[in-house]
Amino acid sequence: MSSVAGLLALLLHLALVLAGAPLLLGLLRLIKARMVGRAGPPVLQPWRDLLRLMRKQPVVADGTSWLFRSAPAVALAATCTAAALVPSFALGMTTAPVGDLLVIGGLLALGRAVLALAAMDSGTAFGGIGASREMTFSVFAEPVFFLIVFTLALITGSTNLDTASSVVNAGVGLRISMALGLVATTTLAIAECGRVPVDNPASHLELTMVHEAMVLEYSGRHLAMIEFTAALKLLLWMSVIAVLFCPFGIAPHDGPGATLAPWLWLLGIAAWAAKMVLLAVALAVFETIQAKMRVFRVPELLGMALLLGLLAVIFLFVSQGFAQGAP
């Protein structure tokens, strides 16, 4: 794929992702509402909320520093950058060589750290509690994340999403490791995005809050950016799952006829949208039937995910051992 095509794909990808993130959130909320028998807000509601927030003047807590005011923008920028690295409908975007899964993890950690710092800067008990819990969860999430990367790198030979995805797309067979990895990744995504049962984004009880407690002091455009960041993050994780575990339909980057192929892109976009909707439905079902966990149970959940990740890697080793022994 030529550089022009890569750039075009990147721009299209960014437009899709940025526009789609609040929509996905809206869809999720709608499905959840429908499942419990409510009418629910329209899919566009998150977008409307964002625009409304942008038109309100923010109130900033006394005694906070510049970091408090700039944190939402930094977090959003980091998440946007990460989003630019995760392919959605086509491989071979211009940004593909810039970073791999580890870099994406690092960028998400950057966003998380900045928001936690901002929460500490407000000097309130709730800011502290949120930051503390968020960082604690991250401690347990990181090993899971790295083991997933480990599994993928062993199967596909690369930590780069583009390469990995094309290898998976070319066919790696139905592997138990991939299945275990999928479960682990899903758990991780739920924890990272602060969804039920790790956190409840719709919670109104401060003491049970994690992510929401961190951003209690924010208002106006700052809050808009934070909300947008959260939506983007959800989409990003879903895209990661899609691109790694069911990459079919995605437009390849290095075919024999590596030219601009609009029909492939269209196919890719359709497949991606379908996958997102499916995942949103699955998530909605899951969140509806699950209750939120106690804070101190969360590390146990992540520990389970860690064990699954370990199992995935070990199964991989075993199967590799068979593969080497067979011929």
Binding site: V59, C80, T81, G123, A131, S138, V139, F146, D162
Partner: protein
């Protein structure tokens, strides 16, 4: 090029040592200015030497051990560490010029400390390296105990010198074992150790220089010692001295022991590295003293470096030279990056200690606004500490994780599972470090001040600010151009593992496999900048700008009353509170933490107490039994002492009779 470089650096050693003597008889500033100039010049020389290809050079001095001569040598490996030492030393010396950097009593030992470290790096024979290493211990000990009127400082000094004694004896023994055919490095290289000798050398190196570097389980001295020293000295100790120990480990294990060592050599390094990384990072979350947090994070980072070295050692033995190069590159890059950003962080801590009157996190807060430059420098350092892209900490950790991924190719299923556990542990350590960095910055720099001195905090003086600025620029450059640093490390890689990073490290980025996609920090930075500009533009176009101040909402608590000028301090999260979930979850596993609650009965007026008790596993399972054994032995020895004359005579006669029996038996045989 190489000969003059060595000559200049060797004279720098002499100058620094002489400067120490001169400073003892003149003003303190003489020592610091001198150290600044010498280190600055040394840094330039080292840089030029490395860029110029780092041809090995040798120099023989006419004095040394008992009438023999001393050999000094310079090659790519030592050149790289010399560069780090000189940069760190320049910054620390510059910061010392501040009126509040040091008590003046440290001035004579400061240049000697630098000179001893440089001597260790330039050593070309076993005696010179031991002498430099021990002199470094001694000088740093003097620096640590400067504020000796505090009991805690003296206790830290005792612990420190004891561990230094262990390190010194182990190093001497290791080198003695190696230098059976002559003490020059050339002679040792010609006769690398084999069999049990090699294994013993490995153990001694891990115990000796390893403990100096702060490797678990011999790390317990490090937090109190680094916390006790004045700011610029802790900066040097954490930034440079631990790296000198790493250099000695590399020199002995990779260079002098030769490439023909077995694969399992990497395993102890991996185990100790992982233990240090996890334990150090966890303790960084628990300590409440800013400098102790930084010192614990040093333990963690040394653990990361050691893991890199372990992978490299195993990979070299398995003839996977590409992997060895990657792991070694990761370790060296992390050495440089950590050396500089930890120097920066300790300078910040020193500035805070003076400017805000305390280094206890519970007495700080809100410093970002009162000490803007120190605060920003610490933010940058914190980002590196947490390994956030595109800071200097991330690139090396990225390479390290990649090399651990590659390490599964080293052996069979058992080893693969070990690597797998290593990978999870490594990620845990990195995440813990991130948490510790957030806690450090969040509690010390952000929020409301927690004490009156923190309200009245003053910014550091100009010399410290300039030192921070210089370090920040370097750290930033390393973060953006890790490939360039790896270019400087190329001669070292060639010498140590006979490999290079061609196609894997260039000016733009690094990758795990030649010509494959990797990590391009410049690209990430550019994307971040574009995103930031884009967000700015969107906000300009669509949002209402500006903001309005008001009391923190805090779920309706509202503004604090007038008599609490900075709010109710107790409503703000403390350093202890921040890490409470972690302590509760990991504490019992890692540091045997126990909690006891003393709840008075209703009607009882005494306060309820919650006590947390934790102990480093090294002190609990290693040092406490050893200390008990030592006390037991001393008790036995003491019993021999206060005998009556008659009893002493009995002992003497018994000895004589035993000798006689020995002879009689000998005769009968």
């Amino acid at each position: 090029m190489s000969g003059p470089a060595l000559a200049v650096l060797a004279s720098a050693v002499g100058l620094l040592l002489a400067l120490g003597v001169a400073t003892a008889f003149s003003r303190a500033k003489v020592g610091f200015w001198g150290a600044l100039l010498v280190c600055g010049a040394g840094a330039v020389v080292a840089l030029v030497y490395l860029i110029g290809g780092a041809e090995p050079a040798m120099l023989t001095l006419p004095f040394g051990l008992a009438g023999q001569s001393t050999i000094l040598a310079l090659d790519g490996i030592s050149g790289l560490f010399v560069l780090l030492l000189m940069l760190s030393g320049t910054a620390a010396a510059a910061a010392s010029l501040d009126d509040h950097g040091h008590p003046p009593a440290t001035a004579p030992a400061f240049p000697v400390f630098l000179g001893a470290m440089l001597l260790t790096l330039l050593a070309g024979d076993a005696f010179a390296v031991v002498a430099g290493f021990e002199l470094m211990s001694l000088a740093s000990f003097v620096l640590v105990v400067t504020s000796h009127r505090e009991q805690s400082v003296r206790a830290a000094g005792v612990l420190y010198i004891g561990m230094a004694a262990i390190a010194g004896v182990c190093l001497i023994a290791a080198l003695a074992l190696l230098s059976a055919h002559g003490i020059s490095f050339a002679a040792i290289r010609a006769h690398p150790p084999e069999g049990w000798r090699a294994a013993v050398v490995l153990a001694l190196v891990l115990l000796g220089p390893g403990s100096k570097a702060g490797l678990a389980p011999l790390h317990v001295w490090l937090p109190p010692a680094h916390a006790s020293a004045p700011g610029p000295v802790s900066a040097l100790m954490s930034g440079a001295m631990t790296k000198i120990a790493v250099y000695v480990m590399i020199r002995l294990l990779f260079d002098l022991c030769g490439p023909a060592q077995p694969l399992w050599w990497g395993l102890p390094l991996l185990a100790m590295g992982l233990a240090s990384a996890v334990l150090g990072a966890f303790r960084a979350n628990v300590e409440t003293d800013v400098k102790a947090v930084l010192a614990c994070s040093t333990i963690e980072n040394i653990g990361l470096v050691t893991i890199g070295l372990g992978v490299a050692l195993a990979a070299r033995a398995a003839d996977l030279s590409a992997l060895a190069g990657l792991a070694l590159g990761a370790a060296l890059l992390h050495v440089i990056a950590h050396g500089l950003f930890k120097t920066l962080l300790f300078l910040c801590a020193g500035a805070i200690q003076y400017g805000a009157g305390s280094r206890l996190m519970g007495r700080l807060g809100g410093l970002l606004q009162r000490m803007p430059i120190t605060g920003c420098a610490m933010l940058l350092g914190g980002a590196c500490l947490a390994g956030l892209p595109p800071s200097a900490g991330f690139a090396s950790e990225w390479m390290l994780l990649q090399s651990v991924l590659g390490a599964v190719r080293l052996g069979g299923l058992g080893l693969q599972i070990v690597v797998c556990v290593l990978a999870a542990g490594l990620a845990l350590a990195i995440a813990l470090a991130g948490c510790a960095a957030v806690r450090l910055v969040g509690v010390a720099l952000l929020g409301r001040p927690r004490s009156a001195t923190a309200i009245a905090a003053v910014e550091a003086g100009p010399p410290v600010r300039w030192a921070m600025l210089g370090l920040a620029v370097m750290v930033g450059l390393i973060g953006l151009f890790p490939g360039a640093v790896l270019g400087l490390a190329a001669p070292a890689l060639r010498a140590l593992a006979d490999t290079n990073l061609a196609g894997r490290a260039d000016a733009l980025g690094v990758s795990a496999i030649a010509r494959a996609q990797g990590y391009v920090p410049l690209g990430v930075a550019l994307l971040l900048a574009i995103a930031a500009v884009g967000i700015m533009l969107v906000l300009r176009a669509r949002a209402i700008l500006g903001h309005r101040g008001g009391p923190a909402w805090d779920c309706g608590f509202g503004a604090p009353p007038d008599w609490l000028p900075f709010g109710d301090p107790l409503t703000q999260y403390s350093a202890g509170g921040f890490s409470q979930p972690l302590r509760r979850i990991l504490g019992p596993v890692l540091v045997s933490a126990t909690v006891s609650v003393d709840m008075p009965r209703p009607g009882d007026t005494r306060p309820a107490m919650l006590r947390e008790h934790s102990q480093d596993p090294a002190s609990q399972y290693l040092f406490a039994p050893i200390a008990a054994l030592r006390a037991h032995m001393s008790g036995l020895a003491d019993r021999m002492q206060f005998l009556t004359v008659r009893q002493i005579l009995s002992v003497m006669v018994t000895a004589l009779i035993l000798f006689l029996i020995f002879i009689a038996v000998l005769e009968q045989l």
